[in-house]
Structures are given as structure tokens and as C-alpha cells.
Amino acid sequence: MATKQIIHGIYSDEVPLLDACAKLRASGIRIKDVFTPFPVHGIDPVVGVPRTRIAICAFIYGITGLSLATLMMWYMMVHDWPNDIGGKPNWNYYSAIPAFIPITFESTVFCAAHGMSLTYLLRCWLVPGAKAKNPDPRTTDDKFMIYLELNEEQSKKADEILRSTGAEEVNYKGTITIEPKY
């Protein structure tokens, strides 16, 4: 069983924040999270956030949409009830394919966009009624926060780094107990 100290390092600018993140990581301290009012460019590698794979999801959803639309139009127009409309017969799929392209495209976009958005919302657990995830409400306005959970020895080192890089506040927000995993 390990007890960890929760530390909020508050900054009012993104430049010292990035500096602090780099120094914390260099001294072997794991940054639990960073809260910022806007997307700070170039922060991901500094904090150690791996690149998101959500675009790959979008591609897979898109392929799914394309397949579903093809299957649907093949079933309805070719298999179930083929019609000759305006001299444009539907006896097989490939000969009527130009007419099917617009809806195939729309369905691809529909599934890719909605699938990816849903994945994003669920992965970040952004749902109606979810509790606000920022520990300090000022971080959606003009403050930037480094959120740390550290043991006693690391806390001292982190405190030093945070203060030396120009943190406006270093707040100790109690401790949490982490059960070891077996």
C-alpha cells in the first residue's frame, strides 16, 4: 500500500508550464495530467502523451459505412426487387454503380463522422451529467495546471521544480492511497 500526495501546480502562462513539464519529466517524475484552457501546441511530447489513434477508428467506421451502403443498395436494388427505371436497368450491381456512388459516399462520411465522434465522447467520458473533470475551475478560464500524484520523496523534488519555473501556486490537496496490484 502506497500513499501519494496530490499536488496542483498553477501557472498563468503556457511557456513556463511547458518548461516545468520538461523539467519534471527529466527528473523522472510522472505527470499525471495537465489542465489547460485551450489546446497548447507541442505539449503532447513534453508531457508524454502518446498520439491518439482515433483517426484509425474513423477510417474503420468509414469502411463500415461504405460496406453497409453497398450491401443495402445491392440488396434493395439488385437482389430483392430489380427495376428498370428510365431505361437504366439494375440487373447487376456493377453496371448500375454510377448511380450508387453518391449514397455510398454519404454513408461513408456519416458512419466515419458519427462513429468517431461517439468514440471520442465515450473515450473521454464526455456525457451529459458527467462530473466536471478539472480539479480547479480556473483552468477553463486563464490558468494552467500540472496535476501530480507523488510519493513523499518525489513531492519535495516536484515542489522545487514547480516553484523555480514560476508556478503561481503550489497547492497540496491531500493524499490518496493506492492499493498495490497483485
Partner: protein, 462 residues
């Protein structure tokens, strides 16, 4: 941090801080509405109610209440549908295409332009659902299993493509808009003090916190959605133009229609964004964010798209003559010199001549002139759709079906109703939603803020 060239004009004027941006964006939400807002809102709601009356009457007695007749079976309804859908296109163009081109000036206008898109698509939807005649059977447009076989909708028809295109466009636009809104709702949630407002914005913000991982995904999602929306927006108006272009009606059956419709849509949409944003910046005192430079940029888009539209009109005339097809030639001759020539010349003046005035820098940086011209452009674009649809159908192949067209009181009423609905929704939106994407704006403050640019210039000199 991203440094911007000193040659570029600052996008945020004055000495603003992150806190100032928060305060300026939240002011209309926390503050009370002024008298002008109530006057505009009352007028809009009255127009909307009149529209609901005319709409109910149409549902009650059928579309015989309209001016459409045997020959002219598409008229006012489809004109308005295409006009509203076209207006919507600027929102997606600003938020998606300009994002892909990394145009930072979009950040001040994208939120309201996307709101405009959604409201315009809702207005367009009213006309297409009504024009089927029996709107309670509109579910038959979708491929649902049914008791007639099943008998499926015709996937070879551009009208069905339109159903899919417009519904995809509407839903994807709403999702794109909302995902951008979440961080801004969170900002409002953390700022407001009234418990009821706090509760409401807390639900709307979905628990957003601004964690670095969430921002990373947010940016990826925005980029991919922009990449998906860009071909989508081009496809929607192309498919709307297929409704005409795949028919065998002279004057409609032309391959130029898709690019011509898309550029016309962007043209009218940007004009509507200008109309709205010039009012918004004044009423909510957002002059520091919606600068003259923003207005100039939008006016430049208007010159470009307006010129494409002008070239398309002339190309149509040339191709009609060059094709040697008498029916085709007559269709255009009839538009320009026939009984509805007045509509054609209003269209030509408003869409081809008037935007060319923006070549003068003095005019394209004048707010009053831009406001007037933005309305002129939308009048012109309404007449473009009217000219394509009505005079063409008044003179089709058989002279025995030749006819004239006058809109009925009900037709006009529904149109006025949609304008009322559009402004009612926009006015409500502007008092409850963050009208500028403030999180994005904060991210360019240091690169494009006036004071920060000055500091950077001073720094470079020493």
C-alpha cells in the same frame, strides 16, 4: 509557440489577456439583453408564427394552397430549399475548409457560421418535407421495410441522393458544432454563479475538464471531421444540382451545374455570415475579435465566388448557343428576354456586377457598404434559383403546357416564416451560446494579438 509574421495584420485587437477573452465572450450570456435585441426578437417571432400559420394551412388543405400549377410544379418551395441549403454551406466552408488551409481568421467566425448552417438547414428541411404534398408520409423516403413488397425507394434517383446528402450534412454539422462547443460550455459552467445556469451549462458541457489527453483527441477529431466535412459540403450542393442536371429539361440538363451551384452556395453563405456578424459584433461589442480585416477577408471570398458564378452564367449562355440545340437556346433566351426577364436581370445585377465593387479596398473595408451588399447578394442568389426553376418550367417542350406563375399568399407566408425562424433561433443562440470559439481564440492570442505582435516586433529590433 507558433510565431506569426509581422506582415500579417493582428486578428485580435487591443491589449487582451486570456481573462479578457473569457469576460468578453461571457458578457452577452451573463448580461441582460438590450432593447434592440427584444425588438428584433419580437419581429422574428411574429414572422415565425405567421409562417407556422401558413404551414399548418398547407398541411390542412394540401399544396393546392400554393401558386404551383400543372406545368410549374416546382417553384417557390424548391427555390427556397436551394437558397437555404446554399446559405448553410458557408458555415461548413469556414469551419472545415479554412481549418484545413490553416486560416486562423476563421476562429472568430466559425462558431456563429456553423450555428447559421444548422438553422439554415432546418429552414431548408421545412420546404422539402412540405413539398411532397403529404408530409406525414415522408418516412417513405427512407429505405424502411414495408407492407408493399417490400418496395424500396429508387436509389437511382438524385432526389433520394438528396435525402441522404442533406440528412448526413445536417447531422454531421450538428456534431461538428457541438464538439467544438463542449470546452466553451465548460468555461461558462466554471464562470457563472446562478445555480440554475450552472446546472444547465454543467449538463451541456458533458463534464469537460481540459485535460491534455482530451485536448489531443479534440484536435485530432476536429481535423478529421474537417477532412470529412470538406468533401461532404461539396457533395451536398452537387447533389442538389443533380436534382436539376440529371433531368431532361432544357436549361437544367447541364454539366456545369455542380461547380456552379457550390460556388453560388458559398457566395450566398458568406454574404449571410457577413449580415449576421456585422450585427453581432456591434450588439455584443466584439469589435476587437471581429475586425475590419475579418470583414475584408470574407469580402475577398465573395469576390472570388461571385466571379465564378458570373463566369458560370456566361458559360451557360455560350454553351447553349454553341450546342446548336434549339430548345436549350430558347430556354436561355426566354430567361433573359421572356416574361420573367426582370428576375433574370435582378440576378445578373446583384450577383455579377455588385460583388465586383469589392475590388475597391475602400468599399470592401467599409462596414456599412458590406452590410448593404451582403443583403443584395442574398437577394440575387434567391433570384438565381427562381430564374433556374420558374421561367424554365413555364416554357417546356409542349406549348400546350406553357404557363405562368404567381406565388400565393401562403407561399410568401411560409418563406417569411422560415426567415423568422432563422432569426429567432439565431437571436436565442447568441444570448445563450458562446458566439466565438473562445478556446481556439485563446490559442492564437500570443501569435496574432495586437499587443503581443508589438512586443515581438520590439524584441526583434533589440
Amino acid at each position: 509557440m507558433h510565431a506569426e509574421s509581422q506582415i500579417r495584420v493582428p486578428l485580435i485587437l487591443g491589449n487582451k489577456t486570456y481573462r479578457n477573452i473569457t469576460d468578453d465572450i461571457i458578457a452577452p450570456i451573463e448580461g441582460k439583453a438590450n432593447r434592440l435585441w427584444y425588438i428584433l426578437f419580437t419581429i422574428s417571432v411574429l414572422g415565425f408564427l405567421w409562417g407556422i400559420g401558413c404551414l399548418s394551412y398547407t398541411i390542412g388543405v394540401g399544396i393546392g394552397a400554393w401558386g404551383s400549377n400543372n406545368g410549374v410544379d416546382w417553384a417557390w418551395d424548391i427555390t427556397n430549399f436551394v437558397w437555404w441549403i446554399g446559405i448553410g454551406h458557408a458555415g461548413t466552408l469556414i469551419s472545415a475548409v479554412l481549418l484545413l488551409f490553416r486560416q486562423k481568421w476563421r476562429m472568430a467566425i466559425n462558431r456563429s457560421a456553423e450555428a447559421m448552417t444548422i438553422f439554415a438547414v432546418l429552414c431548408a428541411a421545412i420546404f422539402v418535407t412540405l413539398h411532397t404534398g403529404r408530409p406525414w408520409l415522408d418516412y417513405m423516403l427512407f429505405p424502411l421495410p414495408n407492407q408493399f413488397g417490400s418496395l424500396w425507394p429508387n436509389f437511382n434517383s438524385p432526389l433520394l441522393w438528396d435525402v441522404f446528402a442533406v440528412s448526413t450534412y445536417a447531422t454531421v454539422s450538428i456534431v461538428f458544432w457541438y464538439i467544438g462547443l463542449i470546452p466553451d460550455f465548460a468555461m461558462i459552467r466554471d464562470r457563472v454563479v446562478k445555480p440554475r445556469m450552472k446546472k444547465a451549462y454543467s449538463i451541456l458541457s458533458f463534464g469537460w475538464g481540459g485535460s491534455v489527453r482530451h485536448w489531443s483527441r479534440f484536435e485530432e477529431v476536429s481535423l478529421v471531421l474537417a477532412g470529412l466535412s470538406t468533401p461532404l459540403v461539396f457533395s451536398v450542393h452537387s447533389i442538389v444540382s443533380f436534382d436539376f442536371a440529371t433531368s431532361v429539361v432544357p436549361g437544367w440538363h447541364t454539366t456545369i451545374f455542380p461547380p456552379y451551384f457550390v460556388s453560388g452556395a458559398v457566395f450566398s453563405g458568406f454574404a449571410m455570415v457577413l449580415t449576421l456578424m456585422i450585427i453581432v459584433r456591434k450588439v455584443y461589442k466584439l469589435e476587437a475579435y471581429l475586425t475590419i480585416k475579418h470583414i475584408e477577408y470574407m469580402n475577398i471570398v465573395i469576390i472570388v465566388t461571385g466571379s465564378i458564378v458570373g463566369v458560370a452564367y456566361l458559360t451557360e449562355l455560350f454553351v447553349a448557343w454553341y450546342s446548336g440545340v434549339e430548345w436549350e437556346q430558347y430556354a436561355f433566351l426566354n430567361r433573359a428576354t421572356g416574361p420573367m426577364a426582370w428576375a433574370y436581370w435582378i440576378m445578373m445585377t446583384c450577383n455579377v456586377i455588385s460583388p465586383q465593387l469589392f475590388w475597391f479596398k475602400k468599399l470592401r473595408t467599409s462596414i456599412a457598404f458590406t452590410f448593404v451588399l451582403s443583403i443584395v447578394v442574398n437577394i440575387g442568389m434567391w433570384f438565381e434559383r427562381f430564374v433556374i426553376i420558374v421561367p424554365t418550367l413555364c416554357r417546356t417542350y409542349l406549348p400546350s403546357t406553357w404557363n405562368s406563375y404567381t406565388p400565393s399568399f401562403i407561399d410568401v407566408g411560409i418563406f417569411v416564416g422560415t426567415i423568422g425562424m432563422f432569426f429567432t433561433l439565431f437571436l436565442l443562440y447568441s444570448r445563450t451560446f458562446p458566439v466565438i470559439a473562445q478556446a481556439e481564440l485563446k490559442s492564437i492570442l500570443k501569435a496574432s494579438g495586437e499587443e503581443h505582435k508589438k512586443l515581438a516586433a520590439d524584441h526583434a529590433h533589440h
